[in-house]
Amino acid sequence: MGKNALTFKGGIHPPHHKHYTETKAIEIAPIPDEVVIPLSQHIGAPCDPVVKVGEEVKVGQRIGESKGFVSAPVHASVSGIVKKIERRPSPGGARVLSIIIQSDKKQTIHESVKPHGKLDDLGPDKIKEIIQQSGITGMGGAGFPTHVKLSPPEDKKINLLIINGAECEPFLTSDHRAMLEMPDKIIEGTKAVMKVLGVEKAVIGIENNKLDAIRTIKVMLKEEDSISVAELKTKYPQGGEKSLIYAVTKREVPSGGLPMDVGVVVQNIGTVVAIANAIQKGMPLVERVVTVTGSGIKEPKNVLAKIGTPFKNLVDFCGGYTEDVAKVINGGPMMGIAQYTDNVPVIKGTSGILILNHKDADREETSNCIRCAKCVDHCPCGLQPLMISKNSLMGRFDEADYYHAMDCIECGTCSFVCPSRRPLVDSIRMAKKEIVSKKKKS
């Protein structure tokens, strides 16, 4: 093993830091007294609340209705009383209209939650409807509504489904543990998605720092010819959609295009688990596996948490902060979003809560770019980050566009390798925003 592992060009080898939690079985987090469920946890239109303050709700009950096609409904993750509907800080950074439910700790299941029967008896449209009704979104971080991804236009022929088990972000182990502890659900969810897309082949891509997961899934797949496991080299950003598709198929998603342009759909491990739950139990997406980890937490753990559980509760469940806590991050260290408060809830895209101490969070001052070309050599997109950044910082956004700023996937590789600690991704992000708003105007 190892030599034949698949991969892409560029990328980096950050320290894994997975030792904190990779061997720890998923623990069920206690039901919080209060959950905060944002009405926008996905890319697309926010939901409208369909419950009122004071109303009683049950687990799995729809409390936010999606307004458009590119949207996903939200459901109550606990039973209890709707206490407030107001704007609350969300891990995305903004204050989002959220439904706050006071839990009665009984976890009464809503009447609408009923098993949908066997997968063999369900048609593709029915499965897609279940996915849409269950509010399932991409659970790797970005949170794109899954049913939209599963509805490619007529002219895009899909012939391969890739399940993203790369989990290339350092520290995070939620997908790893899911692969070890619920491989049956992963395979069931994969089959469901295959049926929706009408594809004959699926590949589960797993980085080879998780050999136990590769083995576990392979054993489960002994009787399956249509699903296979691809061993991927451990390299960041192996789990980026474009890198993953290239590693598995050698197809390049065209600049400005989508995976469907090369006949591929990618789904995250957490997402297919949620799909399996939705079909088997009829339970919408109301809980997920979250890795609570890092140098700033006393007892790092993998937990199964209700959507809407405040970060603070999970921190307490994991022994609390260490003395020198400095940073709380929604997601992994490479692409996660640092929080200014721990009073934000776990949302559908929260794969991890990373807590760093001062030693890990503090940065040296930025100094001049020395043109060492490391950002160029490592960029998985073939960009010259130093040029985009230089132009962006000078306000020359047309030049930044010329250097293909829009092709940046914001993986953070350039900022990671930069010996001068330049704000590379930051300034490229800024350029992308300016370029998009300019194109909208014209």
Partner: protein
Amino acid sequence: MNNRLVATSSPHIVSKETTTTVMLDVIIALVPAAIAGMYYFGISSALVMALAVGSAVGTEAAIQKITKQKVTINDLSAVITGLLLGMNLPPSVPWWMPIIGSFVAISIGKQVFGGIGNNFINPALAGRAFLVASWPVEMTFWVNPGAAPDTVAAATPLGLINTSPESLQPLSDLILGRIPGCIGETSALLLLVGGGYLIYRKVITWRIPVAYIGTVAVIALVYGGFDFTYAGYHVFGGGLMLGAIFMATDYSSSPVTARGKIIYGIGAGLLTMLIRLFSTLPEGVTYSILFMNVAAPLIEKYTAPRVFGTGGVKK
């Protein structure tokens, strides 16, 4: 939680490498060849290098103080400029020459353009070119290894190869460094060891040195009628190793693109051999690199890497 949370944008972890560690690696890689220079040319050459380093660091600090900038001598880049200049001087130069050379290198070669990362030519070579133009006699006075400075003028291998090839030193002396020449350029072997270290530490890539040295070797082979000994003198004699491994790879003044580095290296090799074979100068490394420095932005512009997803769709 009493302390406030840090909310900066991703990524939240960075590599251990900093500008200072990169520069320190370059210094480490230069040390063996510098020690060889002291061994062959005596303690006075240590003084030349020390004065060059001192002047470079002093000039950088003074200019940054005067212009009210942050003093960045701790990044060690001025040490490298001084050390490289010192290693590029004949052992017998008067004591004030490294001081003036480093002053010019840092002030005109580096700081006027905005300091580290912004110089468009290699500062040490700018300093050296200034000295060669101003004091050509002192800058081309060579001594034999082991001889006291200021004694008998000796000839470098590249000086002899066109004029009196019968008195050439054996090739093994070139590789070890037992030949007249600049303080730090004579030991090809130790310079290669330093280059290997830099590639191993990923401070530089193989592209510029291999393209540069390879081009010189190929042209020398063809020109010399596939006489490997003749080509050996061009490769191991003179300043090629020091230039190709340590000077042409200067980050600021060489292209950042992979293909650009190859073209840049080949260009420097072509120019070096053009100068060596068809001009009155026996060397040519300094001017070739300076010339390619100026061409680097242009090369970079036309060698941009292929952006992922722009190679046509494969289905």
